[in-house]
Amino acid sequence: MLGLNSKDKTLFLIVLALTMFAPFLLNPFPEGSELAQFNAGYPDLMQRFVIFGIFAIGFNILFGLTGYLSFGHAAFLGVGSYAGVWMLKLLTMNVVPAIIVSVIFAGLFSAVVGYISLRRSGIYFSILTLAFAQMSFALAYSVLTPITNGETGLQLALNDPRILDFDAADGSLPATNFFGIEMRDGFELALGPWLFTFNFGYYLCAVVMLIAFYISIRIFRSPFGLMLRALKTNQQRMRFTGKNPKPHTLAAFIISGMYAGLAGGLMVAMDPLAGAERMQWTASGEVVLMTILGGAGTLIGPVLGAGVIKYFENIFSKINDNVLYNWFSFLPDGMQDAFVFMIHPFIGKGWHLTLGIMFMLVVIFLPGGVVEGGQRLKRLFRRRGGSDSAGGASSAKVHPAE
């Protein structure tokens, strides 16, 4: 199917099922129960899962395949966001042109940045991309205010031209739509105590992510992808065989920049607002964390990493002391206080601490990220079960980072 081999097809179908049934899967706890706050099935968060999934997939095409560690990828996401909002302001509230233009602008910008930065490699490349991203961030805040609206962030306004739209001027801001279907539309399904939300915006993002994921599988399996892995392993040998690595790296850089632009475009399609802080280097650092946490160089890893980090950011940060007291209410009072005291630094506002510790543990013990962890577990169970016959073949799918 679609030119995928059977293993990739299974992977793709799993991802397809996961994204399509996400509203069910992410809402496993009944409404109003103790654990309902662990539900992640609300539209805003689900959209973020897939959008950052796209961002991380794109980053992985550069970092996972070529080994070039870019610390400035958020700049492309930011450029995509700004381009997208301008399309929504000038042209139409239909998101399709906005997304397409975001991808194009991010691609052009990454072509410029990549052409210059890729003249160096290693840490110099990291610093160059970082310098470009910080420059864009600083300029978006200060000099480019007419385009970016500075600190306030670029927003829609009532008097925007929107030359293709003829909507009734009822004095409210129009909503982003996909050929008439509004992004915030959706319906809710109540099954007993469970409440599932199906949001149109999420499904648009999910479909786009599936396409992006499919393209990334094809890139990984293509001769081009093989070339990228070759230049990660040994550039000099590659040159000896008469191949020039430069165009391939540049192409990978531009592709991953376009993925970032796509993520930025989707972000503004869901919520038409773009701010400069999206381009700051901490945002670039976040996508690095996602990719490493999930497993750089693997197909599914970045998506998992994005999911884990966004889940932590939104769910872990909401747990507070009262919730903890509830959980440990079965313990005697002194123990309860002690437990809450011990866990307190890691939750709520301290979720970054948990993230940092988790990230360090992953880098130290699991360089291949969550995916490698899964594989190790699988191998462990295989060995326990005693049937090691199919072991080698199925683990060949993923290529952990070196």
Binding site: I116, G122, I123, I127, M135, S142, G356, I357, M360, I364
Partner: protein
């Protein structure tokens, strides 16, 4: 002319901070071959050593004044720091006022301890791993350190003033023969610059004129041969790591009166000091110092009114712009050693 001198002076204090952090980074990279993204966090920890000492000095107990009343007529409660009892009120007040310089003594053992435990506990296992792994794990460590500080000290900047004797400003205008008031420069920044120069000079002298420093330099040039001569070079490199941590910490201690420390000040400086190291040339100590001062001064020149009106926004991006130009024209940075991380 006076404006130019003023900008050079203004650039010196920021340049000193860049130079000190970059010096530590280069020491670590040159000896252990590790790219330490947690170095900014060490700078921040140093700054919080000063904050902590200030807090320790002002730990007080409450007594009820027998004579005075507050405006509601209740007995007035008076806070007395414990050190007033131990050293007398005069010395006690002086200690609180001079807590930042005193924190230098306080921070040295702490930073050395942090440096040693960091190297032995974590960095040791990353010698052989690729640079990307080193960057990532130290980046994670930096997040952890700054979150711990945020947990204990909160997210707001904590003002930590300089000693009152050094809070004024010097009028260099008169001194150098310009109009009075044309070059006003705070004393503390002058102190910071002198302090930084002393530290930098000390580190260089240590490496140049002591046997220990000679062994370390030999180890930087060829680690294996030094090891073959029967010298435990790893131990010395560990000490150098602690020294680098100490330099970053001291830079942080003395920086607190210039900018109130907050938990993310390390990250803000980290990015810039990496740019500084790369511009100076990876592995070159002189390069790191020179690039630190150069970029600091350039930054302050770029924020002059005349230049900003000519090229708007240049003050925000000058450092990165210079870094890009230098990296593209001089592959090894300003003074990079041959063969160290070229491509």
């Amino acid at each position: 002319m006076d404006a130019i001198i003023l900008q050079i002076l203004n650039g010196l204090d920021k340049g000193s901070a860049y130079a000190l952090i970059a010096l530590g980074l280069t020491l670590i990279f040159g000896t252990l071959g590790v790219v330490n993204f947690a170095h900014g966090a060490l700078f921040m920890l140093g700054a919080f050593c000063a904050v902590t000492l200030n807090k320790i000095f002002t730990i007080s107990y409450e007594t009820i004044d027998p004579v005075r009343k507050d405006f509601l007529g209740n007995p007035l409660k008076v806070e007395t720091p414990y050190i007033f009892d131990w050293f007398g009120p005069d010395v006690g007040t002086a200690m609180i006022e001079w807590s930042v310089p005193l924190a230098i003594l306080f921070s040295i053992p702490i930073m050395i301890l942090i440096g040693l435990s960091m190297e032995r506990g974590l960095i040791k296992y990353f010698y052989k791993r690729p640079h990307a792994d080193q960057i990532l794990v130290t980046f994670g460590l930096a997040i952890v350190l700054q979150e711990i500080i945020k947990y204990f000290y909160g997210a707001n900047p904590i003002p930590t003033p300089a000693p009152p004797a050094l809070t004024g400003s010097a009028d260099f205008g008169v001194l150098l023969g310009f109009d009075a008031g044309s070059i006003i420069y705070p004393y503390w920044r002058l102190v910071y610059f002198v302090f930084a120069a002393a530290i930098i000079g000390g580190v260089f002298a240590f490496l140049r004129y002591t046997t220990f420093g000679m062994v370390v330099r030999a180890g930087m040039a060829d680690r294996e041969t030094v090891g073959l001569l029967g010298i435990n070079i790893d131990k010395r490199f560990t000490i150098m790591f602690a020294l680098a941590a100490c330099v970053a910490g001291l830079a942080g201690v003395m920086y607190t009166p210039i900018n109130s420390p907050n938990y993310h000040m390390g990250m803000d400086f980290l990015v810039l000091s990496f740019v500084v190291v790369v511009v100076g040339g990876m592995g070159s100590l002189e390069g790191a110092v020179a690039a630190g001062f150069l970029l600091g001064v350039l930054e302050s020149f770029a924020s002059m009114g005349e230049i900003v009106s000519l090229l708007p926004g240049i003050n925000q991006i000058i450092i990165y712009l210079v870094a890009i130009i230098i990296l593209l024209t001089r592959p090894r940075g300003l003074m990079g050693r041959k063969g160290v991380m070229e491509e």
